[in-house]
């Protein structure tokens, strides 16, 4: 796990009130207990942490170019946005 992944996992785990070490890349965010407010809070924290803007609209969670279904998909999305930023 690299630094970027660790930071994203820490943010998601904090919102889900879980130990970061217990999260797996395949974990479904809804099943981790992240509700809609938790998700937007996590996205806010990710934007603040990485200085990026995440294209996510709660009305169309599946329509954007940012997959929030699993821990791994969020990490991959953040990685792409960070690369595009740099």
């Amino acid at each position: 796990m690299d630094t970027l992944e660790a930071r994203v996992v820490d943010i998601l785990a904090a919102q889900a009130l879980l130990d970061p070490a217990s999260l797996r890349a395949s974990d479904d965010l809804a099943e981790l207990g992240l509700d809609s407010l938790g998700l937007v809070d996590a996205i806010f924290a990710i934007e603040e942490a990485f200085g990026i803007s995440v294209p996510f609209n709660a009305n169309e969670p599946d329509a954007q170019d940012f997959d929030i279904s699993t821990v791994g998909s969020v990490v991959a999305g953040v990685r792409r946005l960070v690369a595009a930023r740099d």
């Binding site: 407010l37 938790g38 937007v40 809070d41 996205i43 806010f44 934007e47 803007s53």
Partner: protein, 400 residues
């Protein structure tokens, strides 16, 4: 028609963080007014207020709740928790209950903090919970969620009359049979830089203290906090053995339809008349009036004129006090805080003093309770609230 009684009360304000402490402080003539301890106080012209200090906050508040609850919501929740606990209401009664709370500024500190972030600090994003945190109905919403109240929940905003309007609406709903239990009151947390700076502009704030009806009064002093009451159908309360603090017997509301800020004695008097008529009372029944009594030149003069018109020849025989020199002018919460003084009068036989008033201005023509509390057993009382917008809300209460 059902009678409506108060079976629970709670408060957080500058005097104390509960009802017994507040009643004791009011009776003792204490004042919660002091130097403001807020961000950028040094840039304010007015640097005093009745600020809630030393309050430990809500026990067990989670990080998510802290992110969601503006200070005005926290005050409301604390007051509602106390009121529900005092009432002893069962979950089934609470499930059928509603909550109506007054506020003028809602989550103003949330507006302020986030405007600072985006305007002053150049940030391009704000936390996701800003909207549900600052909305005016955040306070009743969280009281509803916390206590499982599934009846109506909404906020009322009529500046300095907000809480009295909220309590009056709740009273009417119960008396007219639409509900048996409603929580009502007000919450305000406007003691932030922008809130005070805005009031400074009106030139109605005193730089040195609140002295209602005093010959030397020179303005109002802002306060903050909340008071929430459980209003209940009297038969419902009696059937479950609940003790009533007092009865709300009538409510009157009018508008001046005149100036946006200058008070009108006629509008105020009309609201008092309506409240008395609604309660089936005569002016001579009144043994106490809790005045709006802001300590401004204009309010106190107009209110005294209105009281003289309503009370007629008996005006000099009805004790009147204002408690704004004690808890400050808590704006949208103030009518609820002041109802506590009516409970002191009707339940405890204590007419609390007008803290800050030493020498009553000669043109008042009222029996203002000054310096120390008086002991009497009034059977009925009025609580006056008047507001910018020319809106007037008056509650009539009876001892039980």
């Amino acid at each position: 028609m059902p009678r409506v009684v108060l079976t629970g009360a709670g408060t957080v304000n500058a005097l104390a963080h509960d009802v017994p402490g507040t009643l004791a402080a009011l009776a003792a003539g204490q004042s919660g007014i002091g130097p403001l301890d807020i961000r950028d106080a040094g840039r304010l012209t007015i640097r005093i207020g009745a600020q809630v200090k030393g309050w430990p906050g809500l026990p067990g508040m989670t990080a998510r709740e802290a992110a969601l609850w503006d200070p005005f919501t926290r005050f409301a929740i604390a007051a509602a928790d106390q009121a529900v606990a005092m009432s002893g209401l069962a979950p089934a009664d609470l499930a059928a209950a509603g909550v109506i709370l007054g506020t003028a500024a809602g989550g103003i500190s949330t507006w302020e903090d986030n405007y600072r972030a985006v305007f002053a600090e150049g940030k391009d994003r704000v936390p996701p919970l800003v909207v549900p945190r600052l909305m005016q109905n955040a306070a009743p919403a969280h009281v509803s969620i916390r206590h499982g109240l599934r009846g109506p929940s909404f906020s009322v905003s009529s500046a300095c009359a907000s809480a009295s309007h909220a309590i009056g609406l709740a009273f009417r709903d119960i008396r007219e049979g639409r509900a048996r239990v409603i929580l009502a009151g007000g919450a305000e947390a406007m003691l932030v830089f922008g809130g005070i700076k805005a009031w400074e502009g009106l030139r109605v704030l005193s730089p040195d203290g609140c002295r209602p009806f005093d010959a030397d009064r020179n303005g109002m002093v802002m306060g903050e906090g909340a008071a929430v009451f459980v209003l209940e159908d009297a038969d419902h309360a009696a059937a479950r053995g609940a003790r009533a603090l007092a009865e709300i017997a009538g409510f009157g509301m009018t508008s001046d339809a005149g100036d946006i800020v200058a008070p009108s004695a006629e509008g105020a008097a009309a609201a008092m008349h309506l409240a008395l008529t609604d309660a089936g009372m005569q002016p001579g029944d009144l043994g106490y009036v809790n005045a709006h009594g802001t300590g401004t030149l204009a309010n106190d003069r107009a209110e005294a004129q209105a009281l003289r018109a309503v009370l007629g020849a008996g005006a000099a025989a009805v004790p009147v006090s204002s408690t704004k020199g004690a808890h400050g002018h808590a704006i949208g919460a103030t009518g609820a805080l002041e109802l506590l003084a009516c409970i002191a009068a009707l339940r405890d036989g204590v007419l609390v003093p007008t803290t800050g008033c030493r020498v009553v201005a000669p043109d008042m023509g009222l029996d203002v309770v000054t310096e120390t509390a008086r002991h009497a057993q009034p059977g009925a009382a009025l609580s006056n609230s008047f507001a910018f917008g020319g809106t007037n809300a008056v509650l009539a209460l009876r001892a039980v």
